[in-house]
């Protein structure tokens, strides 16, 4: 073990020359001649990472060398003879011979002596990049299911005829058949369309949309519906919210004062646009990690990096806390990156090796190093550069025409007009005081020009003269006026503040036990070893570019590694995202812990299916919409949630997917459905949001302010935007009921619904039926209709007489619909 760690350590020294090292010959000498010797020969006993450094001497930092051990400073700059370190390696003193195992080669002793003699230059308090040793067996770690390559999963053969519709179903059915269980039949059409709408758009279908679908008997009616919804702008709004949970997205800093982050909503808009345009998922990931580096002036790409900096950040710092805060900030970035993209809990390796997963502490700090210069900033970018380009193009054409006109004026009419004007006014303007009339300066310039050509306007000087004279000579002025106006109207790019990644200086250090006071050198940017199958390791992604001069930006390298499905993390990346899709369609992931694919997480119920979906994603160019369609057109998705006694007895937790359980609407859908029921939903997309929960816009556009969660969303379990959230909780608390019963917002939607389905004096039975269809997506049974009518009749009497009383009673009925379980649960 010791041998391995030393080998690793030496390896790093060559991999990670200090920034600025090349500029300083003294430090360069230390890096090449001294540091490797210290690391190789001395650290096994004299290192801060050792539990007790021998003699109290730590040679792995500048501070340690200067402080020395029990015998005083180890080196005295400029005085080798007075430096215990040099004495010890010379083996001159019988009491102190180092290393104890044998004298170093003379050349090495000479190098170290020379180094001390010339001032013992060392990088400022950086220590040596000591990769923490580890007992984790990476090779063994690769055998864990999630770190393995994708299996070439072939859909199994099944016996049941007629149930399976897609390859997905065969994976499901084969396991059910093996247990002699059967799945459910398809849900009825009214349930199916409601399920599809909520699932893909987060909104209920309208009565008309239900009618069309229920009446469509074509064999591809369902597939057409799925495609239509995937093409809807509402799809991106719905699924963006899932991703925003994972990205712990918020528009303020949290902590004290919870400062607003101007332009933070552009990240939300990026996610919506990316999903709606079916941006390949690998590209989606790359832009979030390094969009600012990949496409520096591209609004969309820069907005994407809002992902990295969306975490909380203190509003007040003190001298003592600035550095720990920086490491917390980086920890937030890398932990979220790990959870969101890879389902790995990298953050657990901050202070020690990961306790369960094959993630050494070394991986943590090398990953952190990819973010060493990453900070948040407010960039100014044009969200619609094409609009500006178009305007500019048009403007340029007109400008060219005006220019031609001006040229012809200068050629044909200017000489005479100018000569006349000059003769009459020239002297007078020149004689003016400059303070009183700035034109005097120009007039003197004109005079100087004219003097060169005997006071004449010539072919050679007229352009220059016209340029000067067009501010005062009336005809020139008139001729130039259109150009002047056009110049003033030149289009400008409409810059918008975008909260995104910015650059900062500084380095990241290895920290012993995660403590900022215990630095242990600078790690080279690198990645999770267990997710690197290529022999050239990190270099595959960090290697210099083809021109050999520039290196890949570490964050771009991170994005490269992350999306590399052949030799990097790409396979796990694909597994994690297809699992998220399955989770939101089916109520639970194939891996029930979507943010943890590690040892502590759950194992996949259907590993072959997961790999099949991941492979399909990659094969299809990482596009998500085809995977949605693949899942939704399957029988497993379309089945009802009905009970099957035998299946339930054998599999009470539905791990084999013999039913598709009903799901409660998520917070945003609860609020959006209330607005939709009232017919008041405002579908304006994008842009800055609001904190006003009574706004009519979709909930995804409400501002996410950490200290002021929107009450109705918080009530229905919208998460706190602090850490990556892979799955929301579903809680039932009486304050939800209070809000539905008493809040003016819900009351208003009930009133609107009542007025919408029952115009003044409208027939009750028809209104009741439409209200049912609007709220639940189905017709009421005749019994339900009768009971509702009886209720409204009875209830109206308590409100008085006539139409107002009926309207009031009917609104109460509508509110009961909005409060009901059927409204917030989707079959």
């Amino acid at each position: 073990m010791r041998l391995t760690s030393i080998a690793l350590v030496v390896g790093l020294v060559w991999l990670a020359p200090r920034a600025g090292a090349a500029d300083d010959p003294g430090i360069a000498f230390f890096e090449t001649k001294v540091r490797p010797v210290l690391v190789k020969e001395c650290y096994s006993c004299h290192s801060a990472t050792e539990k007790k450094a021998k003699g109290g001497l730590e040679l792995d930092s500048a501070a340690g060398l200067l402080k020395g051990g029990e015998g005083g400073p180890a080196v005295v700059a400029g005085k080798p003879d007075a430096s215990p370190l040099i004495k010890a390696i010379r083996h001159a003193d019988t009491q102190l011979k180092m290393p104890p195992t044998g004298k170093l080669p003379d050349a090495v002793v000479a190098d170290l002596t020379k180094w001390v003699q010339s001032g013992a230059a060392m990088p400022k308090d950086t220590g040596v990049g000591v990769r923490p040793t580890t007992k984790i067996d990476i090779e063994a770690g690769r055998a864990f299911w999630s770190f393995r390559p994708l299996a070439a999963a072939v859909p199994p053969e099944v016996k049941t005829v007629g149930w399976a519709r897609t390859p997905v179903d065969r994976f499901i059915l084969a396991k059910l058949e093996a247990k002699k269980l059967r799945p459910n039949n398809p849900a009825d059409r009214e349930k199916l369309i409601r399920r599809a709408y909520f699932d893909l758009t987060g909104l209920p279908p309208t009565v008309a949309e239900i009618d069309v679908f229920v009446a469509d008997n074509s064999p591809d009616a369902w597939a057409k519906l799925v495609e239509k919804l995937l093409a809807s702008d509402r799809y991106g709004e719905r699924w963006a919210r899932h991703w925003l949970d994972v990205a712990r997205f918020a528009e303020s800093g949290g902590y004290e004062f919870d400062g607003d982050r101007k332009g933070a909503h552009h990240y939300r808009d990026f996610v919506i646009r990316a999903l709606n345009s079916d941006m390949p998922y690998n590209e989606f990931v790359r832009l979030q990690l390094a969009g600012d580096k990949l496409l520096p002036n591209d609004y969309n790409a820069v907005a994407a990096t809002g992902f990295l900096v969306a975490g909380p950040y203190p509003g007040q710092t003190t001298a003592k806390t600035l550095e720990p805060i920086r490491y917390d900030q980086l920890d937030d970035m890398i932990s979220t990156t790990g959870s969101a993209f890879l389902g790995v809990t990298i953050g657990c390796a901050r202070c020690h090796d990961h306790k369960y997963d094959p993630i050494p502490q070394d991986d943590y700090y090398r990953l952190l190093a990819t973010l060493a210069t990453t900070n948040s900033t407010t960039a100014n970018l044009d969200p619609k550069p094409e609009l500006y380009q178009q305007q500019k193009l048009k403007w340029d054409v007109i400008r060219a025409t005006l220019d031609v006109e001006w040229q012809s004026f200068v050629r044909d009419r200017f000489p005479k007009a100018f000569a006349t004007w000059w003769a009459e006014n020239g002297e007078q303007v020149i004689s003016r005081r400059v303070f009183a009339d700035p034109r005097a300066i120009v007039a003197r310039q004109l005079a100087a020009l004219l003097a060169k050509s005997d006071g004449k306007v010539t072919d050679a000087n007229r352009a220059e003269l016209a340029e000067l004279a067009r501010g005062m000579e009336p005809e020139s002025r008139k001729a130039f006026a259109p150009t002047l106006a056009h110049l003033a109207a030149a289009p400008k790019p409409k810059l918008d503040a975008v909260f995104a990644v910015g650059q900062r200086g500084g380095e990241v250090f290895y920290l012993i036990r995660g403590e900022t006071g215990r630095k242990n050198g600078i790690p080279a940017p690198g990645f999770m070893k267990v997710l690197m199958s290529n022999p050239d390791k990190d270099a595959r992604w960090t290697a210099p570019l083809a021109d050999k001069k520039s290196t890949v930006d570490p964050r771009v390298a991170l994005a490269n590694w992350m999306t590399d499905a052949d030799a990097g993390a790409g396979r796990l990346l694909a597994r994690v995202i297809v699992n998220r899709l399955w989770q939101h369609h089916m109520g639970r992931g194939l891996v029930a812990t979507p943010n943890d694919f590690g040892v502590q997480g759950d194992r996949p119920t259907h590993p072959e299916l997961l790999d099949y979906l991941a492979s399909e994603l990659i094969r299809g160019g990482w596009r998500l919409k085809p995977i949605h369609k693949l899942i939704m057109t399957s029988a497993v998705y379309q089945q009802s949630g009905d009970d099957i006694a035998a299946s339930r007895a054998a599999d009470p937790d539905n791990k084999l997917w013999w039913r598709r359980p009903p799901m409660r609407l998520e917070a945003e859908s609860v609020r959006d459905s209330l607005l939709a029921a009232g017919g008041a939903l405002d579908l304006t997309m994008f842009g800055a949001g609001t904190l006003d929960e009574a706004s009519s816009r979709r909930s995804v556009y409400l501002t996410v302010k950490r200290s002021r969660p929107v009450p109705i969303l918080q009530l229905f379990d919208s998460p706190e935007a602090i850490q990556s959230i892979g799955e929301r909780q579903v809680t039932t608390v009486p304050t939800q009921a209070l809000t539905l019963m008493n809040s003016p917002f819900v009351r208003k939607q009930a009133d609107l619904l009542a007025k919408r389905v029952r115009p003044v004096g409208g027939e009750l039975p028809a209104a009741i039926a439409t209200a049912y269809r609007t709220a639940f997506g189905r017709k009421p049974t005749s019994q339900e209709k009768d009971r509702a009518a009886a209720f409204v009749g009875r209830h109206a009497e308590t409100y008085g007489k006539g139409e107002p009383a009926t309207a009031r009673a009917f609104a109460d009925f509508c509110q009961a619909l909005l409060c009901s379980n059927e409204f917030v649960y989707v079959d």
Binding site: Y255, E256, P312, P314, Q316, T317, T318, K320, T321, S339, T345, Y356, T593, N595, D596, G598, G601, G641, R659, P661, P662, R664, R706, S707, Q714, D717, E720, I722, Q723, S724, G726, E727, Q729, V730, T731, T732, V733, P734, T735, A737, L738, M741, N742, S743, R747, R787, A788, F791, H795, T798, R808, D812, F813, A816, L817, C819, S820, N821, E822, Y825
Partner: protein, 488 residues
């Protein structure tokens, strides 16, 4: 849903009587419970909800405390001006403070000793020194256990409040009130188990009482002490009478029952049906619990209600007592503004950077009488034995001056006291150096405090865990030792 999480909430809900018996509660609590029950305040007749995560749970062992009232002195009072008397500091006013680190807190300090400007006296059998900032509270010195050797990692307000409340200096982890609600469930069916009262929100805001990754069932009800309504949407719509709302709810119940019948496998639907009944009852029960007009004038005077300086804090303390009587488990009160004119800021009133004397004098006027009244009232009603009262700030203050008259933040030393709820009154645990600058004897981390508080409630801080993102989280992270010396 979170299938992998074992919340430990079995389907069987123990009856209240069973709970009280197994929890080792004395007859006094039972009597109180039955009294309140007869007033219809506990509503225990309601059928238990299926799979109710708030159903009372067995603690790990017999608890000493049933409820907690945490008086949070936002802004951080100075230990050397309240409960940690340092004669040496008094003597060396203006002299250099040995080992002073001017960058200990938020600003820069002088490095020169600043003596306490307050009058100090010994109180009670225990002879406890208390400054006259808390001269009324001091009457209960023999009921308090003082921990003088506390320290924090944070040296600023928001991180400090997170650390005290949630165990870490970052926002987003569950606060103690949520952990305890998760661990013990709720005694009250019509009131939340965890109630926070504040005036201006303390710096760090809602994250201080966050439920973090715990389900929202365990979140706090936060009440602005200046507002009239304890809870949003507690009043039925103006145009609806009680019978009308009841009729609408009956219709709803019928619709929900039909839906439930059609969905026999979804047990959570039943809880949702019941939640409307609970909400209906809360409309009556919650205003009753918060209605201080039901108290006698004498009681209200004791709490300094109506006093121009102490009115809000007095109301909050009296409300806390009423809530605890009604089964609320955990009440956290964040001290609001000082009296004013002393440079104190609303969200961190005790933050005496400029002038410790005027600041603490004013903040003391707002808190001292109400705290004394609360302790006396709880004692008189036999509630102090089962109610743990905690007094703390976010951290302490420097023994050297900031400017000439103020003190900066000091994470290295502060005093926390607890009273009732199973602590040994009149005890002093741990000590600071002779200037009160550093905790030196029996240094006590926030995790140690948390472990002790959980212990008094019958919870083992190492066993109260919740799995989130692959980790079994604890309030006390990976450390914490119960301070046995202060247990009765």
């Amino acid at each position: 849903m979170t299938p992998s999480i074992d919340t430990g909430f079995g389907p069987l809900v123990p009856s209240r009587r069973q709970f009280l018996r197994t929890a080792g509660m004395g007859a006094g609590s039972l009597a109180l419970a039955s009294l309140l029950h007869s007033e219809g305040l506990l509503a225990t007749d309601a059928p238990p909800l299926p799979n109710d995560p708030l159903a009372p749970k067995k603690p790990h062992f017999a608890p000493k405390a049933k409820a907690v009232i945490w008086l949070f002195m936002t802004g951080s009072p100075s230990q050397v001006d309240t409960f940690d008397y340092k004669p040496e500091l008094q003597k060396r006013n203006g002299q250099p403070l040995a080992g002073a680190d001017p960058k200990t807190g938020f600003f820069t300090t002088s490095g020169k000793c600043l003596k306490s400007p307050f009058a100090w006296k010994q109180h009670g059998q225990s002879g406890t020194w208390v400054s006259d900032v808390f001269e009324r509270t001091a009457e209960f010195a023999d009921d308090m256990a003082f921990v003088h050797s506390c320290y924090t990692r944070a040296n600023n307000h928001a991180p400090g409040a997170y650390e005290l409340s949630c165990g870490v200096t970052r926002p987003g982890l569950p606060s103690m009130g949520s952990w305890i609600t998760y661990g013990l469930g709720s005694e009250s069916r019509s009131l939340p188990a965890f109630v926070v009262m504040h005036e201006t929100k303390p710096r760090g805001e809602d994250s201080i009482w966050s439920a973090g990754f715990l389900p929202k069932n365990f979140q706090a009800l936060a009440i602005d002490g200046r507002g009239k309504k304890p809870l949003a949407h507690l009043d039925r719509p103006a145009e609806q009478s009680d019978p009308q709302q009841r009729a609408a709810l009956d219709l709803l119940r019928e619709m929900n029952q039909n839906h439930r019948t059609a969905h026999p496998l979804e047990s959570e639907l039943a809880a949702r049906v019941e939640s409307f009944e609970l909400a209906y009852r809360m409309q009556t029960a919650a205003p009753e619990a918060f209605d201080l007009a039901r108290e006698t004038d004498r009681t209200r005077n004791r709490y300094a209600i109506g006093d121009k300086d102490a009115d809000v804090f007095g109301r909050q303390c009296l409300t806390a007592r009423r809530l605890v009587e009604r089964g609320v488990r955990f009440v956290q009160i964040f001290a609001g503004r000082g009296v004013g004119g002393d440079g104190s800021v609303g969200d961190v009133p005790w933050d005496g950077h400029n002038n410790i004397e005027t600041n603490h004098r004013s903040c003391g006027r707002a808190c001292d009488r109400p705290i004394a009244a609360l302790l006396g009232d709880l004692k008189a009603r036999g509630l102090l034995d089962s109610t743990l009262v905690i007094w703390s700030g976010e951290f302490g203050r420097t023994s050297d001056s900031q400017g000439s008259l103020g003190r900066d933040h000091n994470p290295n030393a502060f005093t926390v006291w607890m009273a009732g709820g199973g602590v040994k009154g009149g005890t002093h645990y741990g000590a600071t150096d002779e200037f009160g600058y550093h905790a030196v004897d029996k240094r006590t981390s926030v995790h140690d405090l948390h472990a002790t508080i959980l212990h008094l409630l019958g919870l083992d801080h190492e066993k109260l865990t919740y799995r989130f993102n692959a980790r079994d989280y604890r309030l006390t992270d990976v450390s914490g030792t119960v301070i046995r010396d202060i247990l009765a």
